[in-house]
Symmetry: C2
Subunit: 179 residues, 2 copies
DNA sequence: CGGGTACTTGACCGATTGGTCAAGTCCCCG
DNA sequence: CGGGGACTTGACCAATCGGTCAAGTACCCG
């Protein structure tokens, strides 16, 4: 799965053949179809693995935070850091979002993360720390900002320096704060 | 090109064969290769068309605005509206960004739009309307928010109502305003 | 009307695709 | 030691891929 994920991320899912994967691994084709029903199922399994890992990281980052705003900031930072480290997973997520065959596999995981973030946004609103607006929408907006920053880094168009990450976080917090 | 763009957007670029395109159009394969060198060149031409159209819309929206902040807001709204209308182009942009063969074709157009937005952000800073920070990064952040909102609409996960668009704009303006 | 250019056709090409399967090999358990 | 499930192999399959090209057809100009 790790090797296939690498190839998918570098070459693209469709242009990477099953033959290429098993050849690179030095195994027969039968091995592949013993463990996976199809090439599609392989990618789905990889995506599920990645989402689980990201979710773990987010939960760990949020644990121990005191107020809702701190939870939001930590969640943002954890997501950015994970995405920067896990280039392969991130690229596969990006691809999967563009393909109807896989978009549904992303949806559930994304919704869980967004709803979680939205909960903290709603908490901050209840505490009067930020003005009332649709928490789910704001959570998505923050997700959009962070995703785009990471994408820039991976595409080599801009380095995600600590300062850039700070600016990104500030943008998100400013975005939910302003009336 | 329009038919091919539709097919690419619905089915994906790779899964859509040249044979399927010419068959759907009711023409011979030779016609295709008379006008295009390859399937890749076709997508590149489609992407170029889309970028040109988007750029025109952005320029038209900004023209006539008075201050830098108004220019920014109009640019955001124009980008969102165009992306919502031009579902096909937007999906192809999203795909192209995930494929190294086509990512470069997007880069130039994206940079032009971002630099333009960054200029207005810098103007607003010079006028003291918003605090000083990297204008290019902020422009990218706004692009990330709007892109994500449109993506949600196209994937059917959230309707981009006028209110949602307003919230999105407010998020962006808040993001660049807060210290 | 004759000839040439612009365009169109679809059979055809070698390569490659995702997937199958008969024939093993390996190793654990009785 | 013998048998049986777990696992592996790679030749093989029909289908399809992007792309080519000889053989037209349509139409304009002299």
């Amino acid at each position: 799965m790790a090797y296939a994920a690498d190839r998918f991320a570098d070459n693209g899912y469709h242009p990477t053949s099953v033959a290429e994967i098993v050849e690179g691994l030095g195994v027969g084709k039968g091995v592949f179809y013993w463990y996976f029903d199809s090439k599609e199922e392989l990618l789905r399994a990889i995506l599920a693995d990645g989402q689980l890992d990201l979710r773990r990281r987010q939960r760990a980052a949020i644990a121990g935070a005191e107020g809702p705003m701190e939870r939001i900031e930590r969640g943002i930072r954890a997501s950015i850091e994970w995405s920067l480290e896990q280039r392969v997973f991130f690229r596969l997520f990006q691809f999967a979002a563009t393909d109807d065959r896989f978009a549904d596999n992303l949806r559930k995981g994304e919704q869980v993360a967004v709803r979680d973030a939205a909960k903290h946004v709603a908490d901050a609103m209840a505490a009067g720390e930020i003005p009332d607006r649709d928490p789910v929408l704001l959570a998505h907006a923050m997700l959009g900002v962070t995703t785009h920053l990471v994408q820039l880094d991976h595409r080599g168009l801009m380095k995600a320096t600590p300062e850039a990450i700070d600016s990104c976080v500030a943008f998100c917090l400013g975005g939910i704060s302003r009336v």
